[in-house]
Homo-oligomer: 202 residues x 2
């Protein structure tokens, strides 16, 4: 099938959102943990986390400031820190539920039954149920004028994970910690191993 630009533009709004969100392929499922300066915790599911570089270890994510996860963005700017927690198959329903429109003083932790966990005095909550999670220090955001989104850039500091995931060359086997993938706006997926391939040479 072939959908042209005109066809896409003519799709009903929700259909277009489902369709276009499917095109970026399988995405990572992450819960972003933050708190405001009064200590009110916030948790939001984000599927736009993207690797930026290993040295220094940088991670990016796309945020839409005026949509649901706006509290996350505001908290990051206010406190300068956040956590990224991999979603696994035991908590994906609760993770998805964090996308509901809770108020600033309602914690998604309380609302969904996920447990906030504070590690090594880091000023943002981790998700206890996540088996691979890391602390991030906010560095900067770049405004994408093309559609009003923000690319939020942070440096990875501390990483917490189940030992079973770590392989001898530094690779973390995400299937060992049951990390799931997302597609589109609402589809969750289990993942299995095909193969690791050697460094490609001509």
């Amino acid at each position: 099938m072939h959908f042209t630009q005109q066809h896409i533009a003519a799709l009903e709004k929700h259909s277009r959102a489902h369709f276009i969100n499917s095109l970026s392929g399988f995405k990572s499922a992450n819960l972003i943990g933050t708190q405001d300066t009064a200590g009110n915790t916030n948790l939001s599911i984000v599927s736009s986390v993207v690797h930026l570089g290993a040295h220094p270890p940088l991670i990016g994510m796309i945020m839409r400031p005026h949509s649901v996860p706006r509290h996350t963005f505001e908290n990051i700017l206010a406190t300068g820190v956040y956590t990224i927690n991999h979603v696994n198959s035991k908590i994906y329903k609760q993770a998805h539920q964090t996308s509901a429109r809770y108020d600033q003083d309602e914690s998604e932790f309380t609302a969904t039954g996920l447990t906030p966990e504070y590690l090594n005095e880091f000023n943002a909550p981790f998700v206890q149920q996540s088996r691979l999670k890391y602390a991030v220090k906010y560095l900067e955001h770049q405004h994408l004028a093309v559609n009003g989104t923000e690319l939020v850039i942070g440096e990875i500091t501390d990483v917490y994970f189940d030992e079973i995931a770590l392989q001898s060359d530094g690779f973390l086997d995400l299937t060992a910690v049951d990390t799931v993938a997302v597609s589109g706006l609402d589809s969750y997926h289990g993942v299995n191993k095909l193969q690791r391939l050697p460094y490609a040479k001509k």
Copy 2:
């Protein structure tokens, strides 16, 4: 286990790359098809494709201008167009092989046995073997001074896909077209369905 910032910085370079690249979770596996102004085709695997918005339909990807896919970036700037082709389980080994350091006049299509396909006079090659692929018009790139990478932003114009993937609400079932996921630098994964969840409400 807990890896601190100091521990991460002390990792051997390749181990750190494997480790940090694992943290972003499951990523989409895409082949970016381009050509230069002389018509030399190029194909490179990219795992950093990220959804930016559905209206207008925008897609981003992170490129490292001085690494292997530099020809891709140069071709995009020269011609203003590119294709994004989902990698499926039948072609993931060939897709990975495109990451070898071929010269500008060596096509990764020829080297890997993937077939270039031209659709509706679009000035960049698609991958015939891909079952979900789309044409992208380059809009702009944002330089990330923090580590010298580029966020390349484009508008999705034409989308080609196997009809079997399309669901009634516009969602594309990526498992129906056998799209794979990537983790780390070199691990390929099959994906199965857990569940689609309804729009979350308080």
